[in-house]
């Protein structure tokens, strides 16, 4: 039958182009299986060289880890506040059409800027240090939390907003008394989720100048102090896993208490 023959040809062409694209992609990335095999051996050797971790090194990792933790928490806190204010303007039920469109585009654009570059720009302006790091995390939250918060705000029923408007309440009263109480658990949940992401980001940002344990990790690697690197790695794992468990626990409790 002609159509099934046509379908078969289309399938074959699709499959072939898929193979072609994959091949070219591999070329573009310098994908070499031999390098991987050799690298795997080197990698394994080097991983074993990392053990055993050094206990004194490990103790010196606690302070940087706390610094990274403080950075992430502060960044997420400030980021949530800023994102909430922006989200109000991005929600169709209490913002006007054009403002909402503009702000939503702004949020999308922010989401496309890698946080590492936000940090680099901030460092160019304010220098290395915790200030730039916190600002970078704070601004980085806007892309995700701005959208999530705005979507959550839009879930507030219009009948509630209209009854408040009809009785003469001001915009701020509508936001604080009408929208905020019901949307608050969702906001906390999203913020905690972002905290998990921000912890990993802080580790990354640490390597390019934010300090904290990311810096220790990168430094140890570049200094070829692999035992120290392992200690910092273990510390990073503890930090990340710890925050993830905490965040998951609190979010589960929030879900249960939803009634």
């Amino acid at each position: 039958m002609q159509t099934s023959m046509f379908k078969k040809i289309v399938q074959i062409v699709a499959f072939l182009s898929f193979i072609l694209v994959t091949y070219f992609a591999m070329q573009a990335c310098g994908f070499k299986i031999e390098a991987l095999q050799k690298g795997l051996k080197d990698g394994m050797f080097f991983l074993t060289a990392m053990f055993p971790p050094n206990w004194t090194d490990f103790k010196s990792m606690v302070a940087p880890a706390l610094e990274t933790l403080a950075l992430s928490i502060l960044g997420t806190l400030l980021g949530s506040l800023v994102s909430f204010i922006i989200a109000i303007f991005a929600a169709s039920n209490i913002s006007n059409k054009w403002v909402k469109l503009f702000i939503r585009s702004f949020i999308s654009i922010e989401r496309s800027i890698p946080e590492l570059f936000i940090l680099l720009i901030l460092i160019a302006a304010y220098g290395l240090g915790a200030l730039s790091a916190v600002l970078a995390l704070m601004i980085g939250c806007i892309g995700m939390l701005g959208k999530l918060f705005a979507d959550a705000i839009e879930e507030t029923p219009t009948s509630l907003i209209e009854s408040m408007k009809a009785s003469g309440a001001s915009k701020i009263q509508i936001i604080y008394y009408g929208i905020l109480p019901d949307v608050f658990p969702k906001l906390i949940s999203y913020a905690l989720f972002r905290l998990e992401i921000n912890i990993r980001l802080s580790v990354m940002l640490g390597a390019i100048g934010a300090g904290g344990i990311g810096f220790e990790l990168d430094y140890a690697f570049s200094m070829l102090q692999y035992n120290r690197a392992l200690s910092s790695l273990i510390m990073v794992l503890i930090l990340v896993i710890g925050i993830e468990q905490l965040s998951a626990y609190i979010r589960k409790r929030l879900l249960i208490n939803q009634i």
Binding site: A25, M26, F31, G39, L71, L78
Partner: protein, 260 residues
């Protein structure tokens, strides 16, 4: 009489949060005044960044190649990572594979891979295969296995068992049940998650450019390193447009799949 609108409680909670923030700022030794005193640097920076130098994009082919490189990194990472994640998830999900012990081990391995921060992974791969996009792809593969491994296992475990059970009751064996009952139900979630991961991996690919990951992220990092801010802004705008296109494409395709 107690009411929710009791402002004292709200004020107390707000005060606690404010104190917390203040303590954190102190602990990190952040000097807020710098925000304002050094603010003029921001203006100086903006001055140096505009007007953006778009010639850097047109002048050499390398930018176009870098974009292709970044897209290839995300593409390969998602593809290979997705495949490996899929295999892992079949073993790890408790309703498909019946060797409980191996299944648990697979779940553990997936969790471990997921927890590793990408910084660690790329540092190790750079040592193993040298800096460049290859290390980047490998890192993305790792990260993808972590994210998709969990998502796939959840999707598989949440599948409706009725169609599989009815097939098995007619005598079909494991492989057949999989091909005809499990796989068709799983495909939408599979493709949707792949597209979602591709979107994320594009951003990761750009971000890894700094750590020797290659692609347009690396070009951007270089431009900033040598203080060619006008070039850098042009590249950032390029990146933003690229990522916006990918994001919208990914969302559009995922909606269509949901519809089907």
């Amino acid at each position: 009489m107690k009411t929710f609108l009791m402002e004292h409680k709200r004020w107390f909670q707000t005060l606690l949060v404010l104190i917390g923030m203040f303590l954190l700022i102190q602990y990190l030794k952040i000097d807020i005044t710098i925000l304002f005193t050094d603010f003029h640097y921001v203006f100086e920076l903006i001055n140096e960044m505009f007007p953006p130098n778009f010639d850097v994009i047109w002048d050499n082919n390398t930018i176009f190649n870098s974009i292709l490189q970044t897209i290839s990194m995300a593409y390969l990472g998602t593809l290979i990572g997705g495949l490996i994640a899929f295999l892992f998830s079949i073993i790890a999900s408790n309703n498909i594979f019946n060797f409980k012990l191996i299944g648990s081990i697979a779940k553990w391995v997936l969790s471990f891979i997921r927890v590793l921060p990408s910084l660690v992974v790329i540092l190790i791969f750079v040592v193993a295969v040298g800096p460049g996009p290859f290390a980047g792809v490998l890192t993305i593969i790792f990260a993808t296995i972590g994210t998709l491994g969990k998502l796939f296992t959840e999707s598989l475990e949440n599948l409706d068992p009725t169609s599989a059970q009815s097939l098995q009751s007619t005598g079909a064996h494991k492989l057949q049940t999989f091909k005809y009952a499990v796989w068709p139900e799983f495909v939408p979630a599979f493709i949707s998650n792949l597209l979602y991961c591709f979107d994320i991996n594009m951003r990761v690919a750009v971000g890894l450019g700094i750590f020797g990951g290659g692609g347009i992220g690396y070009k951007l990092y270089l431009a900033m390193r040598v203080l060619h801010y006008k070039d850098a802004v042009a590249l950032i705008i390029c990146i933003i447009i690229l990522l916006l296109i990918i994001e919208n494409l990914s969302n559009y395709l995922r909606h269509k799949i949901l519809r089907n």
